[in-house]
């Protein structure tokens, strides 16, 4: 029978990994934050006792830890944002060339979004959260969550329109 920590990892690590990878744009940072979260869970087994939604709670922990990490590594993050966008993908590789091209463009377009918009877009599209849940996860007002999503999505649409129309 798996331990609590193993169960939490098996149920949530993939979602946390995808969110963190998209948010930090760096695999090492993602790993560091993920490790930090599980160390915290191991040290404080009752951390999740009062959480209504484990996934949402862990996403919030991850977001806060990622922000702390990015602040600590401010210079490095700027470097990533300026030069690392082109070669980074938070999506799985695809055997379909059109799909692969779309994913590459999407990853680049996501990298061009501000981190706060990127976080909202990720949580809405790939974590399946509602705006209420996103607002709670990121500790922002509901309207802010909705407007960040709208702005982010508009930018993605503008950026990906030519390719989307071509391969549709």
């Amino acid at each position: 029978m798996p331990s609590t920590l193993e169960r939490l990892y098996d149920e949530h690590a993939q979602a946390l990994f995808a969110f963190l990878l998209n948010f930090t744009r760096d695999e090492n940072d993602t790993r560091d934050v993920l490790q930090e979260i599980f160390i915290k869970l191991a040290r404080q087994p009752d951390l999740l006792v009062t959480a209504r939604d484990e996934r949402a709670f862990l996403l919030r922990l991850s977001h806060n830890a990622a922000i702390d990490l990015m602040r600590r590594r401010g210079t490095r993050t700027k470097h990533h944002e300026q030069f690392g966008v082109e070669h980074f993908s938070s999506f799985a590789p695809s055997s379909d060339p059109d799909e692969a091209a779309f994913r590459t463009e999407l990853a680049t377009a996501l990298g061009e979004l501000p981190a706060d918009q990127r976080a909202v877009v990720h949580l809405k599209l790939w974590a399946g959260q509602t705006f209420e849940e996103i607002a709670a996860t990121l500790e922002i007002p509901l309207n802010t969550a909705a407007s960040r999503y709208r702005y982010g999505l508009d930018k993605l649409r503008t950026r990906l329109r030519p390719l989307y129309d071509e391969i549709k």
């Binding site: 920590l5 193993e6 990892y9 690590a13 993939q14 990994f17 995808a18 990878l21 998209n22 790993r31 993920l34 490790q35 599980f38 160390i39 869970l41 191991a42 040290r43 404080q44 087994p45 009752d46 951390l47 006792v49 009062t50 993908s89 938070s90 999506f91 799985a92 779309f102 994913r103 999407l106 599209l125 790939w126 500790e139 999505l153 993605l156 649409r157 990906l160 329109r161 989307y164 129309d165 549709k168």
Partner: protein
């Protein structure tokens, strides 16, 4: 291009899979750290629950609470400042100075002249009260 179609298209893009090797590394590292003697003890459940409930209550109105706290701080500082000022003023005004008494004497003289009464009699009644024991003051009055 419809927004819905575009969003659905985006949703279909599957994120990268977490490297399988991370599971063992992260879990063993977490368990090792938790088992170390330097690991902090877990907080009592009821205390944690209370903190959680408080944070849930306060977090959404963080700006409002901060504003309220700042307002109270300003009020407290202003209150303290005015108290200090009034104490200082009271201290300053508690004993009449010689200049004040002199001015008062002159005013009385002037008033006496105006009403055409002998000023000396009235002005003699104004005594400069020296600072000192009451018994000593009485002796001085008797002497005068």
């Amino acid at each position: 291009m419809k927004t819905d179609d575009f969003e659905k298209r985006l949703q279909r893009q599957s994120p990268r899979q977490i490297p399988a090797a991370w599971r063992e590394e992260i879990l063993s590292s977490a368990e090792r750290t938790a088992a170390s003697p330097h690991a902090p003890r877990t907080t009592h459940h009821s205390l944690r629950s209370l903190i959680h409930q408080l944070s849930t209550l306060l977090r959404p109105q963080r700006v409002a609470w901060t504003g309220l706290a700042a307002a109270w701080l300003v009020i407290l500082v202003m209150n303290l400042a005015s108290q200090e000022h009034s104490t200082l003023t009271a201290k300053t005004n508690s004993t009449p100075t010689l200049e004040t008494l002199q001015a008062l004497k002159q005013q009385r003289q002037l008033l006496a002249e105006l009403v055409d009464r002998p000023a000396r009699h009235e002005t003699d009644q104004i005594k400069v009260v020296p600072i000192g024991p009451r018994s000593q003051r009485r002796e001085e009055t008797v002497t005068v």
